[in-house]
Symmetry: C2
Subunit: 123 residues, 2 copies
DNA sequence: CGGAATCCAAGATGATACTG
DNA sequence: CAGTATCATCTTGGATTCCG
Protein backbone atom coordinates (compact mmCIF):
# COMPACT_ATOMS: atom_id res chain seq x y z
CA UNK A 1 0.00 0.00 0.00
CA UNK A 2 2.71 2.44 0.97
CA UNK A 3 4.51 3.97 -1.98
CA UNK A 4 8.27 4.18 -2.20
CA UNK A 5 8.17 7.84 -1.26
CA UNK A 6 5.90 7.19 1.66
CA UNK A 7 8.00 4.34 2.94
CA UNK A 8 11.05 6.57 2.90
CA UNK A 9 9.36 9.03 5.21
CA UNK A 10 7.99 6.28 7.42
CA UNK A 11 11.37 4.62 7.57
CA UNK A 12 12.44 7.55 9.70
CA UNK A 13 15.92 7.83 11.12
CA UNK A 14 16.65 4.14 10.75
CA UNK A 15 16.47 4.60 6.99
CA UNK A 16 19.42 6.08 5.15
CA UNK A 17 16.98 7.55 2.64
CA UNK A 18 14.91 9.56 5.07
CA UNK A 19 15.94 13.21 5.43
CA UNK A 20 15.44 12.93 9.18
CA UNK A 21 18.58 10.82 9.36
CA UNK A 22 20.71 13.70 8.15
CA UNK A 23 18.97 16.20 10.42
CA UNK A 24 19.59 13.93 13.38
CA UNK A 25 23.25 13.58 12.50
CA UNK A 26 23.66 17.33 12.20
CA UNK A 27 22.02 17.92 15.58
CA UNK A 28 23.87 15.16 17.41
CA UNK A 29 27.18 16.10 15.90
CA UNK A 30 30.08 16.40 18.33
CA UNK A 31 30.24 20.20 18.11
CA UNK A 32 26.60 20.92 17.30
CA UNK A 33 25.36 19.86 20.71
CA UNK A 34 27.82 22.17 22.43
CA UNK A 35 26.95 25.08 20.15
CA UNK A 36 23.26 24.50 20.79
CA UNK A 37 23.96 24.47 24.50
CA UNK A 38 25.65 27.88 24.34
CA UNK A 39 23.14 29.49 22.04
CA UNK A 40 20.33 28.18 24.21
CA UNK A 41 21.49 30.73 26.75
CA UNK A 42 21.23 33.57 24.29
CA UNK A 43 22.92 35.38 21.43
CA UNK A 44 26.64 34.84 21.02
CA UNK A 45 29.39 36.19 18.82
CA UNK A 46 31.84 33.96 16.98
CA UNK A 47 34.68 34.67 19.36
CA UNK A 48 32.48 34.12 22.39
CA UNK A 49 31.49 30.68 21.18
CA UNK A 50 35.10 29.84 20.48
CA UNK A 51 36.06 30.78 24.01
CA UNK A 52 33.20 29.02 25.75
CA UNK A 53 33.42 25.76 23.84
CA UNK A 54 36.72 24.45 25.04
CA UNK A 55 38.72 22.59 22.44
CA UNK A 56 36.92 23.71 19.32
CA UNK A 57 38.93 25.09 16.43
CA UNK A 58 37.90 28.06 14.34
CA UNK A 59 37.49 25.80 11.38
CA UNK A 60 35.09 23.39 13.04
CA UNK A 61 33.17 26.21 14.66
CA UNK A 62 32.64 27.99 11.37
CA UNK A 63 31.84 24.76 9.58
CA UNK A 64 29.34 23.55 12.14
CA UNK A 65 27.67 26.94 12.41
CA UNK A 66 27.21 26.95 8.66
CA UNK A 67 25.57 23.53 8.64
CA UNK A 68 23.17 24.49 11.42
CA UNK A 69 22.42 27.73 9.62
CA UNK A 70 21.66 25.88 6.41
CA UNK A 71 19.35 23.56 8.33
CA UNK A 72 17.47 26.58 9.61
CA UNK A 73 18.40 26.08 13.25
CA UNK A 74 20.63 29.13 13.57
CA UNK A 75 20.23 32.73 12.47
CA UNK A 76 23.40 34.59 11.52
CA UNK A 77 23.37 38.37 11.76
CA UNK A 78 26.18 40.43 10.25
CA UNK A 79 26.67 44.01 11.39
CA UNK A 80 28.35 46.22 8.77
CA UNK A 81 30.90 47.69 11.14
CA UNK A 82 34.63 47.74 11.48
CA UNK A 83 35.87 45.56 13.02
CA UNK A 84 33.31 43.00 11.86
CA UNK A 85 30.62 41.88 14.27
CA UNK A 86 28.60 38.72 13.70
CA UNK A 87 25.99 37.35 16.04
CA UNK A 88 24.49 33.89 16.18
CA UNK A 89 21.17 32.94 17.70
CA UNK A 90 18.71 30.09 17.59
CA UNK A 91 15.70 30.18 15.30
CA UNK A 92 12.29 28.89 16.38
CA UNK A 93 13.01 25.35 15.28
CA UNK A 94 16.55 25.73 16.57
CA UNK A 95 15.21 26.53 20.04
CA UNK A 96 12.99 23.48 19.95
CA UNK A 97 15.91 21.28 18.96
CA UNK A 98 18.14 22.86 21.59
CA UNK A 99 15.51 22.19 24.19
CA UNK A 100 15.66 18.46 23.51
CA UNK A 101 19.43 18.47 23.44
CA UNK A 102 19.53 20.37 26.72
CA UNK A 103 17.44 17.71 28.40
CA UNK A 104 20.06 15.12 27.53
CA UNK A 105 22.92 17.39 28.59
CA UNK A 106 21.22 18.29 31.86
CA UNK A 107 20.55 14.66 32.59
CA UNK A 108 24.21 13.84 32.05
CA UNK A 109 25.55 16.78 34.05
CA UNK A 110 23.22 16.25 36.97
CA UNK A 111 23.46 12.48 37.02
CA UNK A 112 27.18 12.24 36.32
CA UNK A 113 28.07 10.66 39.67
CA UNK A 114 25.45 7.95 39.24
CA UNK A 115 26.43 7.40 35.61
CA UNK A 116 30.09 6.99 36.49
CA UNK A 117 29.08 4.76 39.38
CA UNK A 118 27.08 2.48 37.11
CA UNK A 119 30.06 1.89 34.84
CA UNK A 120 31.22 -1.72 34.97
CA UNK A 121 34.58 -1.96 36.71
CA UNK A 122 35.93 -4.91 34.76
CA UNK A 123 36.60 -3.98 31.18
CA UNK B 1 37.11 28.67 46.61
CA UNK B 2 36.45 25.87 44.19
CA UNK B 3 39.32 23.43 43.91
CA UNK B 4 40.70 22.28 40.60
CA UNK B 5 38.82 19.01 40.87
CA UNK B 6 35.60 20.77 41.70
CA UNK B 7 35.95 23.24 38.87
CA UNK B 8 36.39 20.38 36.45
CA UNK B 9 33.07 18.92 37.47
CA UNK B 10 31.40 22.30 37.39
CA UNK B 11 32.85 23.06 33.99
CA UNK B 12 30.43 20.48 32.63
CA UNK B 13 30.26 19.52 28.98
CA UNK B 14 31.82 22.77 27.81
CA UNK B 15 35.03 21.70 29.51
CA UNK B 16 37.29 19.17 27.86
CA UNK B 17 38.33 18.00 31.30
CA UNK B 18 34.89 17.07 32.57
CA UNK B 19 33.97 13.38 32.15
CA UNK B 20 30.49 14.46 31.07
CA UNK B 21 31.96 15.66 27.80
CA UNK B 22 33.00 12.14 26.86
CA UNK B 23 29.71 10.64 27.99
CA UNK B 24 27.85 13.16 25.87
CA UNK B 25 29.98 12.35 22.84
CA UNK B 26 29.39 8.65 23.27
CA UNK B 27 25.63 9.13 23.53
CA UNK B 28 25.34 11.59 20.65
CA UNK B 29 27.56 9.55 18.42
CA UNK B 30 26.25 8.92 14.91
CA UNK B 31 25.52 5.24 15.51
CA UNK B 32 24.84 5.37 19.24
CA UNK B 33 21.63 7.32 18.84
CA UNK B 34 20.30 4.78 16.35
CA UNK B 35 21.29 1.87 18.57
CA UNK B 36 19.61 3.50 21.54
CA UNK B 37 16.50 4.01 19.44
CA UNK B 38 16.31 0.31 18.60
CA UNK B 39 17.10 -0.97 22.06
CA UNK B 40 14.55 1.42 23.51
CA UNK B 41 11.97 -0.85 21.91
CA UNK B 42 13.34 -3.90 23.63
CA UNK B 43 16.00 -6.58 23.55
CA UNK B 44 17.77 -7.14 20.24
CA UNK B 45 20.33 -9.55 18.88
CA UNK B 46 23.41 -8.40 16.99
CA UNK B 47 22.05 -9.39 13.61
CA UNK B 48 18.72 -7.74 14.31
CA UNK B 49 20.41 -4.45 15.07
CA UNK B 50 22.48 -4.74 11.93
CA UNK B 51 19.38 -5.26 9.85
CA UNK B 52 17.31 -2.52 11.42
CA UNK B 53 19.98 0.17 11.39
CA UNK B 54 20.36 0.74 7.70
CA UNK B 55 23.87 1.50 6.57
CA UNK B 56 25.78 0.37 9.64
CA UNK B 57 28.73 -1.95 9.20
CA UNK B 58 29.45 -4.89 11.47
CA UNK B 59 32.60 -3.19 12.61
CA UNK B 60 30.93 0.02 13.71
CA UNK B 61 28.05 -1.84 15.30
CA UNK B 62 30.36 -4.00 17.37
CA UNK B 63 32.56 -1.06 18.24
CA UNK B 64 29.72 1.24 19.27
CA UNK B 65 28.01 -1.48 21.28
CA UNK B 66 31.23 -2.06 23.15
CA UNK B 67 31.60 1.62 24.03
CA UNK B 68 28.03 1.84 25.29
CA UNK B 69 28.52 -1.33 27.26
CA UNK B 70 31.67 0.05 28.88
CA UNK B 71 29.78 3.19 29.79
CA UNK B 72 27.19 1.07 31.52
CA UNK B 73 24.35 1.93 29.18
CA UNK B 74 24.00 -1.47 27.59
CA UNK B 75 23.89 -4.98 28.98
CA UNK B 76 25.32 -7.76 26.85
CA UNK B 77 24.12 -11.28 27.42
CA UNK B 78 25.86 -14.24 25.84
CA UNK B 79 24.07 -17.56 25.59
CA UNK B 80 26.42 -20.56 25.46
CA UNK B 81 24.74 -22.19 22.49
CA UNK B 82 25.65 -23.15 18.96
CA UNK B 83 25.24 -21.14 16.86
CA UNK B 84 26.12 -18.25 19.18
CA UNK B 85 23.35 -16.07 20.53
CA UNK B 86 24.00 -12.65 22.02
CA UNK B 87 21.38 -10.23 23.23
CA UNK B 88 21.67 -6.54 23.91
CA UNK B 89 19.44 -4.50 26.15
CA UNK B 90 19.48 -1.16 27.91
CA UNK B 91 20.50 -0.86 31.54
CA UNK B 92 18.70 1.46 33.96
CA UNK B 93 20.88 4.43 33.12
CA UNK B 94 20.81 3.37 29.48
CA UNK B 95 17.03 3.58 29.49
CA UNK B 96 17.17 7.04 30.98
CA UNK B 97 19.63 8.18 28.34
CA UNK B 98 17.60 6.57 25.57
CA UNK B 99 14.52 8.37 26.81
CA UNK B 100 16.19 11.74 26.28
CA UNK B 101 17.52 10.72 22.90
CA UNK B 102 14.10 9.48 21.88
CA UNK B 103 12.59 12.86 22.61
CA UNK B 104 14.93 14.45 20.13
CA UNK B 105 14.34 11.74 17.54
CA UNK B 106 10.57 11.91 17.96
CA UNK B 107 10.65 15.68 17.62
CA UNK B 108 12.60 15.38 14.39
CA UNK B 109 10.47 12.60 12.92
CA UNK B 110 7.18 14.23 13.81
CA UNK B 111 8.22 17.75 12.87
CA UNK B 112 10.17 16.85 9.75
CA UNK B 113 7.87 18.73 7.34
CA UNK B 114 8.10 21.92 9.38
CA UNK B 115 11.83 21.52 9.84
CA UNK B 116 12.41 21.09 6.13
CA UNK B 117 10.05 23.98 5.48
CA UNK B 118 12.01 26.27 7.77
CA UNK B 119 15.22 25.64 5.88
CA UNK B 120 16.45 28.78 4.11
CA UNK B 121 16.09 28.45 0.35
CA UNK B 122 19.08 30.55 -0.62
CA UNK B 123 22.30 28.88 0.34
C1' DC C 1 37.03 40.39 14.26
C1' DG C 2 35.34 36.81 11.59
C1' DG C 3 36.12 34.13 8.73
C1' DA C 4 37.98 31.56 3.98
C1' DA C 5 41.58 28.71 1.92
C1' DT C 6 45.16 25.51 2.10
C1' DC C 7 47.82 21.72 3.59
C1' DC C 8 48.54 17.76 6.20
C1' DA C 9 48.20 14.33 10.14
C1' DA C 10 45.19 11.44 12.37
C1' DG C 11 41.35 9.03 13.24
C1' DA C 12 36.87 7.18 11.73
C1' DT C 13 34.67 4.26 8.69
C1' DG C 14 33.76 0.63 5.13
C1' DA C 15 34.38 -3.80 2.49
C1' DT C 16 36.04 -8.11 2.69
C1' DA C 17 37.66 -12.29 4.47
C1' DC C 18 38.21 -15.25 8.24
C1' DT C 19 37.12 -17.74 12.89
C1' DG C 20 35.11 -19.90 17.25
C1' DC D 1 25.61 -16.22 14.54
C1' DA D 2 28.58 -12.95 16.25
C1' DG D 3 32.03 -11.20 15.91
C1' DT D 4 37.55 -10.14 14.73
C1' DA D 5 41.44 -8.90 11.60
C1' DT D 6 43.14 -6.57 7.83
C1' DC D 7 43.53 -3.25 4.54
C1' DA D 8 41.98 0.70 1.81
C1' DT D 9 39.64 5.01 2.03
C1' DC D 10 37.49 8.83 3.39
C1' DT D 11 36.34 12.30 6.56
C1' DT D 12 37.72 15.02 10.56
C1' DG D 13 40.31 18.07 12.63
C1' DG D 14 44.29 21.19 13.57
C1' DA D 15 47.70 24.64 12.25
C1' DT D 16 48.73 28.15 9.42
C1' DT D 17 48.13 31.92 6.38
C1' DC D 18 45.63 35.54 4.32
C1' DC D 19 41.78 38.85 3.60
C1' DG D 20 37.64 42.25 3.94
Amino acid sequence: MASYETSKLLGQVLSTECPSREILEHLTNKWSVLILRCLNEGVHRFSELKQRIEGISEKMLAQTLKILEQDGFILRTVYPVVPPKVEYQLTITGSQAAEKVMQLINWIERGLPEILEAKPKIE
